[in-house]
């Protein structure tokens, strides 16, 4: 198993008075094919961890490697390239373009890779099928239910076959039935070989994952260990 995400002694300090040290030396590795829950109460540093893992921010010290690319040494263009080609991100608020159809929203996931429009649409339909929304292809995002919206967002993260999908509280804005559906989908996708990291404060979701990393006050207090 190759490592898709490696964090080594990662510190993140936000300037201010006093400065806030959000992560204080986090080290852990995610291998290809894993399904990992990063759990912890609010303020434990989960979102900071997600931003670093998603290549949206850089560590104050330590190293974050996404499929071997050290985030801290890349400039904006290079880091954008890593995000476009290696990562898929799912947000708690879905973040869909309301005017566009489900297919168009999913296809947006490939737009910054320079994939031609026809190929994008084809891949987007396949991804929608995979999350069980094949029948909603041409629906405007604004007309979908919460659970459906999150599935569209997951399809968008999957469409480019990224090395890892990062999901930030993916059930946070859903009722429990829709939430369970989304969790089941993540398990299914992982069974198909998709590497997934779920960030959550929900103990039940975290408990159902094969591996669980627990954060508290910016440090890893428990790691159930790599599956391999």
């Amino acid at each position: 198993m190759s490592a898709v995400l490696e964090l080594v002694e990662v510190h993140k300090v936000y300037p201010g008075t006093p400065p806030v040290e959000s992560l204080r030396g986090v080290t852990f590795t995610v291998d290809s094919g894993e399904l990992v829950a990063v759990a912890g109460p609010s303020g434990s540093g989960k979102t900071t961890l997600l931003n670093l893992a998603a290549g949206l921010d850089r560590p104050s010290s330590g190293s974050v490697r996404i499929t071997g690319h050290p985030v801290e040494t890349l400039d904006d263009r290079q880091l954008s390239g890593v995000r476009a080609h290696r990562l898929g991100v799912v947000f708690q608020q879905f973040v869909l373009l309301e005017r566009l159809s489900a297919t168009e929203n999913v296809a947006t996931g490939l737009i910054y890779r320079g994939v031609p429009a026809a190929e994008r649409r084809q891949a987007a339909r396949a991804a929608l099928d995979r999350v069980g929304l094949g029948h909603r292809e041409n629906f405007p995002a604004a007309h979908l239910s919460g659970g459906e919206r999150q599935r569209v967002a997951i399809a968008r993260a999957l469409v480019g076959r990224p090395a890892v999908v990062l999901a930030d509280e993916p059930t946070g804005n859903l009722d429990s039935v829709a939430g369970q559906g989304v969790v089941a989908l993540l398990h299914e996708l992982n069974a198909d070989g998709v590497t997934i990291v779920v960030i959550t404060h929900d103990e039940r979701i975290a408990g159902a994952m094969r591996r669980r990393v627990e954060l508290r006050d910016g440090v890893v207090v428990h790691d159930s260990g790599r599956a391999s």
Binding site: R77, H85, R86, V95, R99, T108, Y112, R156
Partner: protein, 394 residues
């Protein structure tokens, strides 16, 4: 492995915002459209009116000259010699010449009108050749000829006929001229180059001599010269008309008055163009304003695009192109509106409708430029927005 946004995708990506809020986009475009419409209309209306003046100059000709009695060196009224008319007509380059002379008498509708109520009308002696030389036309009746010139017959200028209540000449209407009755034989159409004739009553030289003691000294001679020699002829006329005192003769070119009208419209155009430019600038600020708000509202979308792999440049380009499109839309609408205004104005005034192609090109270019300028700041703000900050506000 690099982030890459295809050029073909930039346009649809940039119109997401416009498609989401078409009403707002239309309003933000309005300012630029009004500015461009104002500028195109000003240029179009000016050009149309100039075209009208040019046709008028063409029609009346630039080869008409007038020779008049100027002032003596002591400031008195100079009279042209009796021979001036013939001498001018013999000058090289002169096609035709016609003599007129004002008489110290007035014309009235009847003999009961008080002498003071002249209506601003004058009485002039006119050569039979005057109408041809001026390229004038008659509305009714006939012009003076050598035979008629011996009888109490009068031809009225357009305004004079209206003032005296003469509508046509079939009933041989009479007017009271000096202390004689004269029969109206013709009415002239307005004469653009010699408006003083519109208010005149014209009689023949022979009857003027008999009735009013006219001695044959012209006060104004109209001269039609060969077009290419007009300037040269103008220089010769003073000496021809009054060899003893050429400096007392005033030679002028009536078409210059029309040329001056062209210059006057140019000055007004600059002023109005300035006003159009102000409207355009305000329109540009409107676009910038709307885009700044749009960047704030669409932080989530910006964060999403960054997470999907967009570089700062991609996000900046998206908003810049959106602004360019708004500018171009405003420019297109403005050009169409300006052309319509020009067409309506010109048609209403009987001018040929002309929208200079340069105005259309410049209008569109200015609108796109304004769009680019307006988009620069919002695009920079969008590009500089850090992705984590953009996503935090969700």
């Amino acid at each position: 492995m690099r982030s890459h946004l295809r050029l073909a995708d930039l346009l649809p990506v940039s119109t997401v915002g416009l498609r989401s809020r078409p009403g707002r986009a239309a309003l933000s475009v309005l300012g630029v459209a009004i500015g461009i419409a104002a500028m195109v209309a000003v240029l179009g209306v000016t050009r149309s009116s100039q075209a009208d003046v040019l046709t008028e100059i063409d029609r009346v000709g630039t080869n008409l000259l007038t020779v008049a009695n100027g002032k003596t060196l002591r400031g008195g009224e100079a009279r042209l010699p009796v021979t001036a008319g013939q001498a001018v007509a013999r000058t090289q380059g002169v096609l035709s010449a016609a003599v007129t002379a004002t008489l110290p008498v007035r014309v009235y509708r009847t003999d009961r009108i008080p002498a003071g109520r002249t209506g601003g009308l004058s009485v002039r002696v006119a050569d039979p050749g005057l109408l041809t030389t001026l390229d004038g036309a008659l509305l009714h009746g006939r012009f003076l000829d050598p035979a008629l010139g011996r009888y109490p017959a009068v031809v009225l200028g357009h305004y004079a006929a209206t003032t005296l209540g003469i509508r046509d000449v079939t009933d041989r209407p009479r007017v009271y001229l000096g202390d004689h009755w004269y029969t109206v034989v013709g009415v002239m159409a307005p004469v653009d180059l010699a408006p003083e004739l519109d208010t005149a009553a014209l009689i023949g030289a022979a009857t003027a001599t008999d009735d009013f003691g006219y001695e044959g000294n012209p006060t104004r001679i109209f001269v039609r010269a060969q077009t290419e020699r007009t300037d040269e002829v103008a220089g010769l006329l003073g000496r021809a008309a009054n060899p003893a005192h050429p400096e007392e003769v005033a030679v002028s070119r009536p078409s210059e008055a029309l040329t001056a009208r062209l210059a006057v419209t140019d000055a007004t155009t600059v002023l109005l163009l300035g006003l159009g430019a102000v409207a355009l600038l305000v329109g540009g600020i409107g676009i910038a304003n709307v885009l700044v708000i749009s960047v704030l509202e669409r932080r989530g979308e910006i964060g999403l695009r960054r997470a999907l792999g967009a570089t700062r440049g991609h996000v900046g380009a998206q908003f810049l192109v959106e602004s360019l499109l708004l500018g171009a839309a405003g420019g297109t609408a403005g050009v169409i509106l300006g052309a319509l205004i020009t067409y309506a104005t010109a048609t209403g005034r009987g001018w040929p409708a002309l929208v200079p192609p340069a105005a259309i090109g410049a209008g569109l270019a200015a609108a796109v430029l304004i769009g680019a300028g307006a988009g620069l700041y919002p695009a920079l703000r969008a590009a500089r927005l850090s992705p984590t900050e953009a996503l935090r506000t969700l």
